[in-house]
Chain length 317, copies 4
């Protein structure tokens, strides 16, 4: 057989394969099953100054009849081709309410949380419980309903290790019945952890008090306190995360790129990215991650880097 | 065959059975497998006045060389033939230390807890962590070791729902890593529960903050706040319990017998006993039960009585 | 303010939002959070006649130096823009080996299974255990390694309910240690189920004998036996699946579209699609689904339709 | 104070303590909390020849009106003061039915199993399912009810790793839904295990096919095949067990005492006893243990002895 007719037969074969809604694996096997995660998510930083200014302008321009009851700006990671996601698995956004406004009640299956950046006299209603919201608070919003009580979940789960008798550990997946985690508790807890462990970083996870599991089956929330003086040990984790700077300033190195941050800034961290932090003053980083999904599926891994990361660039470049 | 020889053969048969270390089931089947629990434990009450006076005398008489490092008086339920147990599954006791004395470190496999009745400036060392003890505190003592830190477990588990990151829910049985549950937290938590649920009783369980499970795999600890005004609904539970009156006064009806109690009194409650309480002033009853054992084995049951118990006697009779 | 300048300000606002890597939520909220799953996967059917013919041609044309050690044709669902996936979460493919060839050992993190359509004298090596493969067998291939034993996993888990002593239920996610599920067992099991339950369908799940859980943490495998005579009750499930006709012939209705199938045909079923089957002779449908993922995340739902589906089209259209 | 008056005060103190239903701990602390289990159960052996002869005599003498519907001889361990228990936690017995007789249906909360020693044409009805019984079979009898089906549980759980679709792993404690474990399966499974692991002993646990857990929440059942030639490695386990020789002959050494056994003999093994076996022909030992209870409570331990046990006596002495 001549080389030409061989090539013709191959061409015909590939055309037939495509025509029957099939794809040959051999040209794409490496790409389909890489040795380590190859996320499309890129390390990114959104400045609070920008977010706040645009949010204010939306408050002015996007009236209720223009959709203002969902006046929310979504982080859109540049690696994701214009999709409105902070990372390939996490959605992150800033919501802006004018004084006197309230966001219409709605339901959603995806789990959601609110981390309060600014404002006062605000509350969100979850399962009929109106939860007051203050800066630094974490408030779960698995679904929304008419008000029937106020801060009730905190009265039912009032102190560490104390549960209403008969509240058994939940057998299956579900969200925490405690809906609000207050900044004062978080602040004191980070201080207590640092008293024994030293620095430069202490990390807390917000958990369901009835099970010790993440606050939602699909998302984990953490708070990291970073003390100034030296870079934290770099590590990698399967799964992506979004960081929000609650307080302080410093810089993170993500896969070699250095990103400087200050209060309210938000960062996207891709899966398996090397990450370390260095604070210039005592700083608190709120984090939301998809680790519970990866753990549930047996795919979670983490590793500590033996050497500090080399810094190869800065953001913006 | 004559009736006599028949009887002789039967007698010989029963003698042979006994001689070969066997027992016929048919005469004892009902007794072995009753329709409901038939505990030997009887409802009982130990007066704090008596306990305290005998404990003080033991402090004076039982010097270290007479065994004073284990200067402990065990509750001995009269139904248990002199065994040193409060109920068939629970051990309860009063320990007395003179000023300046310390109980020698020891290890034990059985889980143990301490509930502090009186005293100040006392601590107990658990897993190397010296836990301060104050009245109303619950302190776990799964095992004892040399002091390495002070109140460390409370710093590691400092607030409800907040865990050190990476503390995963324990896969198997074990005790709570939080070792001290402070009265101030318990007191506030009971108030918060009553705010929503009304009275006459609110009940808390002390739990492992990393799992929401009982503080020990074999024992559960609870605190019940009873407000005066009316009797609580009577209920039955498989499993026995010991109650300690932390505060207040009132009376409990256990299987029809009325027992009046005041501060420091201790009560034994048999398995499946009908129980209700009535307080004459706001009262707090600490309870320890074997419910986790019965739940682990699938044998736990509870029932609420539809009618108030008839009072058929009083204690002491 | 004039309408023009208002529109200019809005235009400028939207441009600024896009320029800072943000997306307004209000225009896309409905699309992002639909009331029910809106899968891009479409119901589809790949004919065995086509698959087999193309596989044979690949065996002839795709020599080892052209990538023939991965001589695999992937099902490419037309709804997924050319991606090589059968559904949005499942990969399905046909592998072809010439006599005497063997596929090179490789490792992959994603779970994989093989369901044997044709051939004899074939084996696959998993965790060092060479598993013989015959038509109708399900063989797990979580990862591949050099041969150390032959069919060892079946000797360690030799009969229902019998485990090597000391094999405790696995605490976390993992794959079944039993690697091969033989057709003879499956066949007999389906007959036994039908003896009690009647028809027209009996369904088995292949499970980990040490835990009763799905064979892999991310995928469940089932076999459905459909008897001729009447349509099965239609149902919907969150999560997609791929069906392979092991034996028999008939038709399935998926979201109103009727697809006729025979031996070896493969079908893609989108999430939440209404599905029923009708066989023209006793038929066995092997199914692989992503239900374990959705269950692990608390997102699984299923529903039975009260009315038979109306047939609104046929495939190919 | 004189020694006499001191002693008088002590005597008065101990009298008062006893009079108030209290016990001093210091004289009994060692006995109450030993360093290792101090079971009252003694190693013991009941000969099948004796059991069978007495069972036959009971069949003749104990007619229905004398209690013959519970014609059962319980093993009564000599260490337990005449109580009808094989060990401190396990009840073991031989039931005898004359041809044509049937034991009256009854209910019991304690879990029970039957291991068939002799006989044919016998069945037991569990949850309405009449389970045929043959020598070597293990049949669960958690509770008894009128017949509604025959060997149905085996049809629902027909082969290893195959479950009816939708049978999810049970969240809490419960018994296996598979009620009969047939000797033919057990026999083949032991052969398969020995093929890989070599001898002198292979051990299987009978488990719930839907969870991989013990057949009952309170009892585990095992079968040990011992090949002749050498003694097995000695080991200790917290928890007691009863062994029944299904087949073969040999000897076991329990805490240094050598007990020779043959078909049908039954042995009591105390908690934490050192145990090894040596067979004179291929032998099968059925075992029932309380290990699930101890595991559920976190109290289970086991240890392998580094040296063979010294034989210090024989049974009977």
């Amino acid at each position: 057989m001549t080389q030409t007719s061989e090539q013709a037969r191959l061409d015909q074969f590939y055309a037939d394969v495509a025509g029957y809604d099939l794809k040959p694996l051999w040209p794409i096997a490496q790409e389909l099953m890489p040795l380590e995660p190859k996320p499309r998510t890129v390390p990114w930083l959104w400045r609070w100054k920008t977010l706040r200014e645009l949010a204010e302008r939306s408050g002015e321009l996007i009236t209720i009849d223009r959709g203002g009851d969902r006046r929310v700006l979504s982080l859109a990671n540049p690696g994701l081709d214009g999709a409105p996601y902070a990372t390939s698995t996490l959605w992150g956004a800033v919501q802006y309410l004018n004084p006197g406004e309230h966001a219409a009640a709605h339901r959603h299956t995806p789990g959601a949380i609110r981390f309060v950046l600014e404002g006062d006299g605000v509350y969100t209603t979850v399962d009929g419980d109106a939860c007051d919201m203050h800066p630094g608070d974490l408030v779960l919003t698995p679904r929304l309903q008419p008000v029937q009580a106020r801060n009730r979940s905190e009265r039912r789960y009032p102190a560490k290790g104390l549960l209403p008798a008969g509240t058994s550990a939940q057998p299956g997946p579900g969200h925490s019945p405690l809906l609000a985690y207050r900044w004062a508790d978080t602040d004191a807890a980070l201080d207590a952890l640092l008293e024994d462990d030293g620095g430069p970083m202490a990390s807390l996870e917000f958990t369901d008090p009835t099970t010790g599991r993440p606050v939602m089956p699909t998302m984990a929330c953490e708070m990291h306190r970073v003390l100034p003086g030296r870079r934290t040990t770099a590590s990698r984790k399967v799964g992506s995360s979004v960081l929000v700077v609650h307080r302080g300033s410093g810089a993170s190195v993500i896969n070699g790129t250095r990103l400087e941050w200050g209060p309210g800034d938000m960062l996207a961290v891709p899966s398996w990215a090397a990450v370390d932090h260095e604070a210039t003053e005592p700083s608190d980083l709120f984090a939301i991650t998809d680790a519970p999904v990866l753990k549930a599926l047996g795919l979670y891994r983490e590793a500590t880097l033996e050497q500090p990361q080399e810094i190869t660039g800065s953001f913006p470049g």
